[in-house]
């Protein structure tokens, strides 16, 4: 080690020297740090769920549900969705602002992970919301849709009511599972690649504390 140190110091003059102008040009360039990527991806996630909730609003299917006597359920559900979006966005923004390259390595990593986590919880909430809405809509179908009620009655007359319920519910569960698996797989991939090194180094630092 001492030999290395001696040599390390000797080499001070062997590094490239960048001129004032070269450095000046650099500060005008854009960063490509992971914090920036996390910021972009997180924003996309917020936009994605927001767009989905809007896109679903005016579809024929929604018109169909609006005819039901379900305002007492649907309106609070929508309001809760937006309040939670606002809350998570605030949380995300606050954590993002806290990230500073001037902190110690550990604090910096923790703040990045916190920012990432606020988005993760938001996604988790959305998946839960998705499941909850599906259950609600399914219940509305069975409870209030005249076509559906007729079908159920018909099936009941043939003694196949259970089969009908089973098919509809199972299909819904399978579709939901596929959608959730796709979304989770996507997040896992994107963040897995992005945060692999950070997670590794964070664990390395944490390990020192045991």
């Amino acid at each position: 080690m001492e030999l290395l140190k001696k040599d390390w110091k000797k080499q001070d003059n062997s590094y490239p020297k960048l001129s004032y102008d070269e450095i000046y040009k650099m500060i005008l360039k854009k960063s490509s740090s992971i914090v920036k990527w996390i910021f972009i991806i997180s924003l996309l996630e917020f936009v994605f769920w927001f767009v989905i909730s809007f896109a679903l609003k005016d579809t024929d299917a929604m018109e169909h549900y609006k005819k039901f006597d379900a305002d007492a359920v649907l309106i609070p559900l929508a309001i809760i969705g937006y309040v939670i979006l606002a809350y998570f966005f605030y949380l995300f923004y606050r954590n993002y602002r806290r990230i500073s390259a001037t902190d110690s390595a550990k604090t910096l990593m923790e703040n990045i992970l916190k920012t990432r986590r606020s988005v993760k919880y938001y996604v988790g909430f959305n998946l839960f919301y998705l499941v909850l809405s599906t259950v609600l809509f399914l219940w509305l179908e069975f409870d209030q849709d005249t076509i559906m009620i007729n079908k159920v009655n018909e099936a009941a007359a043939n003694g196949e009511a259970f089969k009908l319920y089973a098919v509809i519910i199972l299909t819904t569960i399978v579709l939901l599972a596929i959608v959730i698996a796709l979304l989770l797989g996507f997040y896992w991939l994107v963040y897995g690649i992005l945060l692999k090194r950070l997670n590794h180094n964070y664990k390395e630092l944490k390990k020192l504390e045991v």
């Binding site: 960063s31 914090v35 390259a101 550990k106 180094n201």
Partner: protein, 164 residues
């Protein structure tokens, strides 16, 4: 941002640029990657500069931001292809300064350091820069005791890599 701030910053950085080069040297192994990391550290320093209050030395602050960038913030860009290995291009030291065995030994040492993980490299770097344990622990966010223990382990690890 105002011109004066920009001017001060670039001037300071020009003066202390060796610190960044040294970080790049430990964390990259070719010329393009070196330049890429150098640029990212410079950008991060510039972004953090408004928050630099001067209560620590500019160079101390550079160590911190530089290492943070290398360990945490930097994303290796894939678009750059690996070019020539560094060793023999940029930092070639005149052969006459060394006798062969010492040069050989040093080469092995540098190779061994490159095999360490990111955190271990940071410790070695701060050690080579004569930083005391207080500064090392503050830079990494661990306790002084842990910094000491880890440093000893790194030294042992280096020995093991050199004499398997």
């Amino acid at each position: 941002m105002n011109k004066e701030l920009e001017h001060n910053f670039v001037e300071m950085l020009e003066q202390h640029q060796n610190i960044i080069h040294k970080v790049c040297r430990l964390y990259t192994d070719n010329y393009d990657a070196h330049n890429d990391l150098f640029q990212e550290i410079t950008i991060q320093l510039w972004k953090a500069y408004p928050k630099f209050r001067g209560d620590s030395k500019f160079s101390t602050w550079m160590y911190r931001v530089g290492l943070n960038t290398a360990i945490t913030l930097y994303r290796k860009s894939k678009r750059r292809i690996q070019t020539q290995e560094f060793e023999n291009v940029q930092f070639r030291i005149k052969a006459e300064e060394y006798d062969d065995t010492e040069e050989q030994q040093l080469k092995l040492l540098y190779n061994a350091v490159h095999e360490l993980n990111d955190i271990e490299k940071a410790l070695v770097f701060l050690y080579l820069e004569d930083k005391d344990y207080r500064e090392i622990s503050e830079t990494l966010g661990i306790t002084e005791v842990n910094a000491r223990v880890k440093m000893n382990r790194v030294k042992t690890k280096l020995k093991q890599i050199l004499n398997p």
